[in-house]
Structures are given as C-alpha cells and as structure tokens.
C-alpha cells in the first residue's frame, strides 16, 4: 500500500467549549484529488488550516495530522517551517485579500522560493498558470480577479509541493473566469501528479475538479466516496440536500417557477445609457418587466447589470434614455422620487453587510416606514412583514441584532424590510450568492411565494444561470453594457442564439 501524503486520524478541534471539528478521519494518497464539501460553519476550512498548523492559538487540536507520515502537531518549529509550502501549500480564499497590494506579484511568487532556497523561475510558474511573463511586474490591483487567483496558484506551486490545499479558490469569481481557473488547476494537478484537497460549498465545482468527494456537516465527516457515486446516490440526508440545492439547467424538476399569465408591463426601460466618466457602463438597454413577472438579468461581473439595476431604482442618474414605471416616467429627484422608491425595493447580495450592525431587526424592518412617515401602527406592520418573510413567530426575532441571526435569517430580515413598504417590484442583486446551499432553496421558494401571494414582480440580478433557471420567467443576458439576448427561460437557456450566452452556459460546472 502506498503511504498517504496526508492522513488525518481522529482529528478534533475545539475553541474553548465549542467543538468545530469532531473525529475526522481522512486519507489522501499522492496524486489523488479530494473535494471537501460543506456549508459555512461545517469545519471544512478548519480542517484545511490544521494541516499546516495555521489555526489560531486558541484552537485546541486533538488527534493526528500526518503529512508524509510526520505528525504536524508535534513537529518542531524549524521542521514545520520547512514543511510549509515545500510539502504542502495552500491556495487561499479571496485572492484580493491574500496578495500584498504594494508588492509586484513576481516578487510575491518568488518569496516562498527565496525562503526555502529552492530553485525555479517565476516565468515558468506564470507560464504554467497561463499568464504572460510581463505580469510579473504588475501590482495586484492591475490584475483581474481571475488573474489574481492564478497568481495564487503559481505561488502555491512555487516550491514544488506534493499536496495543494485549495480553500474556495473560485468563490468570488464569475462563471466564465471560474471555469478558466478550474481548468488551469485541473491541468496542473494532472500534469504534475499533485495531490489536491479542494474545499468548497459548491458541489458542482468539486465535481468538475475532484475524483473523490467528502462531505462535512457540523464538524463531522458524513460521507466519503467517488464523486460520481456520492452525487448520484447520496447516502446522508445532508449530502442529498446539498446536491438538490444546485439546480441543473434543463431539468424540469429544478424549475420552480410556475408559468405566469401574460403580464401587462410594470416597468419599461427604453434605450437607457449610463456613463461613469468616459466609460459607458450601460449602453442602449431596452427591458420590460411585467406585473408579477420574475426577470433574471444575467452576465459576468463588469457587464453593467448592477449599474442598470441602480439606475432603475433611481440611485443613479442615466445619461440618456427613459425608465417608465406603471406608465409614468421615474422622477429623478425630490418628493416624487421618494414616493417612487416605496414601489421598488432592493435586496442586496450580502445580508450581513446590508443590515446596520447596531440596529435591531425591528429597527431595520421599520426603517422604511419611518423614512416615509408611515409609522402609525408600526408594530403590527413590522410584525406582518417579518412573518411574511417567514420568520415566525416574529416576536422571537424583533429584538435580535443582525449578528445573532444566521445568513438565511438575515436575508429574510432584508426582505421583510422591503416588504413592509408593500412594493410592487423587488430588485434583488445576487440574493442567494452568499447563502449556504440549504438556505438558498428556501429563499428562492420565498421569492416565488411572494410573487404568488402578493403579485410581486422581481428583477433578479445574477451570474448564476442555475438560479435563473430555477426562478425566472424571462432571462436577459447582458454583455459589455448591452443586452445581447432576452426571451423566455427555456428559449434563452436551452436554445441560446447569441455566442456569449453559449459561452456562459458552457462555463457552468456540471454535476
């Protein structure tokens, strides 16, 4: 039997009395690729950090962590330094924060080689991750998100490790760039026969990259097997929930939206253009949203979809063109604009930052009422909105502060804060992107129920085509400020006519 390059035996991690990882056993043979899936708080990142002893001092680690047969826990400091990066290296989550902004990326890639006295050239590494040589002299802010992530990969490979740990390497990237980065990672792992431990909440990403899959839930390893088998026949209910949460485009079972009746137009955007200085962010867009209709606006980051949404809401002034709401042009200032804003409400991507950390749930939900001077009978209106957003009973939540709630509950508070004004259109900017898989489905179902019960129309801005398939009636594809294709979900996602839509669809990782 081959000696595993990484073996975890009965690994448990506590912070004080809080158990984060409980009795995890895991082995990774050289050249093997293993995906570690789980929701936030499942302990998957803690496992990854424990491998190179990178946990904070307050962590209490039990069990054995064998890296090439040596226990990381008992290694001397000097040995540990030698092992870090040379035997195993990490591609950290969020390349934007893991690179030093005042150093050229070439120097940063060379740093581990210098520390370990290993040979190798930065140029070669850049070539491996498909970046031009000249980028070695670039500073991080001069690179795109995908390029930065490639620099992180080059850095991880600098000392020729046998094992690479990738912690959510593509989470902040959009589909197209994600596909490119995953492609690079996959090729390098195969070419250099590396072991890969990849951590993600997104099963489809792991399915793209890894032969084996392990699922963590509340600190425990609940399932382990070949990726195909685990996804096809999940044995643990949590695995089943994770697989169900990622919609398969084209699968009618994942299409939750019920067909909407032929709608009358509620919002019309005509030939809208928005400039940032000299850059044209939105370029001649026509878009219609009907009463009670859910429209998905999809596109890569930088395509102008967020700017378009902000302009529709009256948060930005268009350079030219018109926005017509319910037959009347949207006012640009004063009392009329304030009144218009009651009709259209915003749901932001990250509920944790969309709520003022100092305001209780009651204050956050009542904010809209107070702004519009509708505060009489505030108590019952707030309670009704909170219960509409399915936080029941409302009294349990009203006095809570945002940090006391889970991500899904926070998003419900944001939605309740929008609902309390009885809007007719909801603009949701990536409403489920920062939520866990199991919660994601609940929020999608909530948005659909609101449409059914209140006739609430939605504009869903997303780069996630699966979400569009799940929830939308119509899809508009945005590329470089223009809408290149729009139509019914089936038409656009199953029979795309524009090259860009096809490219987007190709980039979606398949389970």
């Amino acid at each position: 039997m081959i000696k595993p390059s990484l073996e975890l035996k009965n690994l448990s991690v506590h912070y004080g009395h809080k158990r984060v990882v409980h009795d995890v056993n895991l082995a990774l043979e050289p050249g093997q690729t293993l995906g570690l899936a789980g929701e936030s708080g499942s302990g998957k990142s803690t496992v990854a950090m424990s491998v190179l002893r990178l946990l904070p001092r307050t962590a209490h680690v039990e069990g054995e962590i064998l890296l090439d047969g040596d226990d990381v826990r008992t290694m001397s400091w000097g040995r540990l330094r030698a092992v870090r990066w040379a035997s195993a290296s990490i591609v950290f989550q969020g390349a934007m924060h893991s690179l030093n902004p005042v150093q050229r990326v070439g120097e940063q890639i060379a740093e581990p080689m210098r520390l370990h006295g290993t040979g190798g050239s930065v140029g070669e590494l850049l070539e491996q991750v498909e970046l031009p040589l000249g980028k070695a002299r670039a500073y991080p802010h001069e690179l795109s998100g995908g390029q930065k992530q490639r620099v992180m990969i080059a850095m991880a490979l600098a000392c020729g490790p046998r094992l690479v740990i990738a912690d959510e390497p593509t989470t902040a990237l959009d589909v197209v760039v994600q596909a490119q980065v995953l492609g690079v990672l996959k090729r390098l792992v195969a070419e250099q026969d590396l072991g890969l431990l990849m951590i993600s909440h997104d099963l489809s990403v792991l399915a793209e990259t890894c032969d084996d899959l392990a699922v963590m839930h509340r600190g425990e390893l609940v399932e382990r097997g070949r990726t195909r088998e685990v996804i096809a026949n999940p044995r643990h209910p949590h695995t089943a929930a994770l697989t169900a949460a990622f919609p398969v485009i084209g699968d009618p079972a994942h299409r939750w939206a019920e067909p909407a009746p032929e709608p009358q137009p509620l919002l019309e955007v005509r030939d809208l253009a928005v400039d940032y200085g000299r850059t044209r962010a939105v370029d001649g867009v026509d878009l219609t949203i009907g009463r009670g209709e859910i429209v998905a606006l999809v596109g890569q980051s930088g395509s102008g979809k967020t700017t378009l949404a902000r302009t529709i809401m009256g948060l930005r002034t268009p350079s030219s063109g018109r926005v017509i709401f319910d037959g009347v042009e949207v006012p640009r200032k004063g009392k009329a604009l304030k009144a218009f804003r009651r009709q259209v409400q915003l749901v932001l991507q990250d509920p944790a930052s969309a709520l003022n950390p100092r305001h209780t749930v009651h204050d956050a939900v009542a904010e809209g009422l107070r702004v519009h001077g509708l505060a009489d009978d505030e108590e019952s209106q707030v309670t009704a909105a909170v219960e509409r957003a399915e936080l029941r009973p409302a009294s349990l939540y009203l006095e809570a502060l945002p940090h006391e709630l889970s991500g899904g509950q926070q998003q419900r508070v944001v939605i309740a804060g929008a609902l309390v004004l009885q809007p007719r259109l909801l603009v949701a900017d990536e409403p489920v992107a920062s939520l866990d898989a199991s919660v994601r489905g609940e929020i999608v179902a909530l948005l659909l129920r609101l449409r059914r019960e209140l006739g609430l129309a939605s504009l869903i801005i997303t780069h996630d085509l699966g979400l569009a398939w799940q929830i939308a009636d119509r899809v508009a594809v945005m590329h470089q400020g223009k809408i290149v294709e729009q139509g019914s979900v089936e038409q656009v996602l199953l029979n795309p006519t524009h090259d860009y839509t096809r490219a987007l669809l190709r980039a979606v990782p398949q389970v």
């Binding site: 809401m313 948060l315 304030k338 009144a339 804003r341 009651r342 259209v344 409400q345 915003l346 932001l348 991507q349 990250d350 930052s353 969309a354 709520l355 003022n356 100092r358 305001h359 209780t360 204050d363 904010e367 809209g368 107070r370 702004v371 519009h372 505060a375 502060l401 944001v414 804060g417 004004l421």
Partner: protein, 292 residues
C-alpha cells in the same frame, strides 16, 4: 418620531459589554478616578474657601513661606496659600478644557460629516479650509486671537476651540466615508431615506464612539493649551488657573526665591489631569475600536 429617544437609549444600554470592557483597562479606570476627584474638588472646594484667603489685598500671612504646618504647600508672593490656589484653579482649567474640547470636537464632527457625506464642491472647499487650519501653527493663531479679542474665559475657549478641530474633522470624514460605502447605507437610500436619515440613523451613531474618544483626548490638549496661554500672560487676569499660577510664579521671581512650592503644584496638577484624560481616552479607544 415617538419613542426614538427611548429606543436609542435602549441600544446604548445594550452596550453594557462596553462598560465591562472599560473596567478591564486598569489605567483607564485609574484615570477616571483621578478625573472624578478633580471634578469633585473643582465643584465643591470653592464653596468652602473664604474669599479673603485668595484676595491679594486682604491676606495677612507672610509671603514666600515654605510648606509647613500652617500652609501645606507654602504661600505665594502675596502670602496666599498655594494649596488653596491650586484647588481654586482646578475649576478654571477643567472648565476651559471641557468647553474648548466640546467646541473643537463639535466643529470637527460637523465639518467631517458634511464633507464626507455630501462630497463634491462643498466638500472640496471644506477640506481646503481644514488643511489651512491644519498647517497653521495652532498656538500662534490662538495667541493672535486672544490678543485681538477682549480678555476673558470666552476668548480663551474660542481661541482653543477654533484652532484644534481639523484633526477631528479629518478623522470623522474618514469614518463617514467608510460607513457610507457599506451596503446598509445603500439599502437606506433605496428605502427612500434622504440625507438627514442616512446621517442621523447610520453615520452619526457609528461615528459617535470615535468622537467621544477624540473628545477626551481633546480635553487633555485643551487644558495644556489653556495653561500655555495663561503662562504667556494671555489668560483671564481675574481668574486663577493653573497656567496663570505658573505665570505669576515666574513673574514674581519664584525661581530666584527658590520657591519650588509655588511652581511645582500647579505644574503637577496639569500633568496629572492631562494624563488622566489621556488614559481614559486611550482606554475608551481600545473599547470602541473592534479588535482586528
């Protein structure tokens, strides 16, 4: 907006963790105790001091007495008790320090929030004005102001307050910009909230803890500034303050008389009170600034 006040206070009440956090800073607690004693002395002591004891024309004791049983800290050039003078001076120093700090922090907060929130031309102008005051030597400006304006406590407060606000303005502006970039401010705008709402409900509550810390530190520097002006002879001649005492001591030749007891007590009083304010300020800063 009914119930706004109670709700706000209840939210502050939730910050009982902050009180515990402050108590954990021993130096801060020590500073707070010193300040409490100083404030108590400043308020109560003058009620017990007979007016005669501090009037140059009515005191009967011999001048330049060394500290002893009769006068713990000796007497000054006119025969007044130095100990009583120090106690009497506490009130003036603390009053000027506090009011000048409130004025300076008030101006700074206003300028900072307005320039941070509104941006554009107004912010540009305000920032240039801030820069102007920032590069101007504050003491020189304060001296110029107190020579031009009529002598009095108000002038000193004004002179100190008008020259020391720029650093507060810069800090508040930076904090305002940070808060304004948060998504919850965008959400408030989308809800229909105007400038007043965003500033009053989101920016101000987030900025206030920092302003409070800044105010404590500003009091310390205002007390030093008051002492400096008084020492240079620009204070209110009708009032006794610690700075004025050092000025008098120097004027009447305490050094050639070797009357250390006239110079040291007011000097030490300034040092102790300023140190106490600084300790409290630093402890508060540690409490309100989130870790990491």
């Amino acid at each position: 907006m009914t119930g706004f006040r109670t709700r706000w206070f209840s939210r502050v009440g939730r910050g009982d963790g902050a009180v515990g956090g402050f108590l954990a800073h021993r130096a801060g607690v020590a500073g707070a105790v010193v300040l409490a004693v100083a404030a108590l002395v400043a308020v109560i002591a003058p009620l017990f001091i007979p007016a005669d004891a501090l009037d140059v024309t009515r005191v009967s004791d011999a001048p330049w007495q060394a500290p002893g049983l009769g006068h713990w800290l000796g007497t000054d050039h006119a025969g007044r008790s130095v100990a009583l003078l120090v106690v009497q001076g506490a009130g003036t120093s603390l009053f000027v320090g506090l009011t000048a700090a409130v004025l300076s922090v008030g101006i700074g907060t206003l300028v900072g929030i307005v320039s941070g929130h509104f941006g554009g031309l107004a912010a540009g102008v305000l920032l240039r004005v801030t820069d102007f005051f920032l590069v101007l030597p504050a003491l020189v400006l304060a001296i110029a102001l107190s020579t031009v304006l009529p002598r009095g406590l108000g002038t000193i407060v004004l002179a100190i307050g008008l020259t020391s606000w720029p650093s507060t303005a810069r800090m508040v502006r930076a904090q305002t910009l940070t808060i304004e970039a948060r998504p919850f401010v965008e959400r408030a705008r989308a809800l229909g909230g105007g400038h007043g709402h965003v500033i009053g409900r989101h920016v101000l509550p987030s900025v206030l803890p920092l302003v409070l810390v800044n105010a404590t530190l500003a009091v310390a520097s205002a007390i030093v500034a008051e002492s400096t002006l008084a020492f240079l002879g620009l204070g209110d001649p009708t009032r006794i303050s610690w700075g004025a005492m050092v000025h008098q001591a120097q004027l009447h030749g305490a050094v050639p008389q070797r009357a250390w007891w006239y110079l040291l007590p007011p000097g030490l009083a300034i040092v102790v009170v300023v140190l106490a304010f600084t300790l409290v300020g630093r402890a508060l800063e540690a409490v309100v600034t989130p870790k990491r």
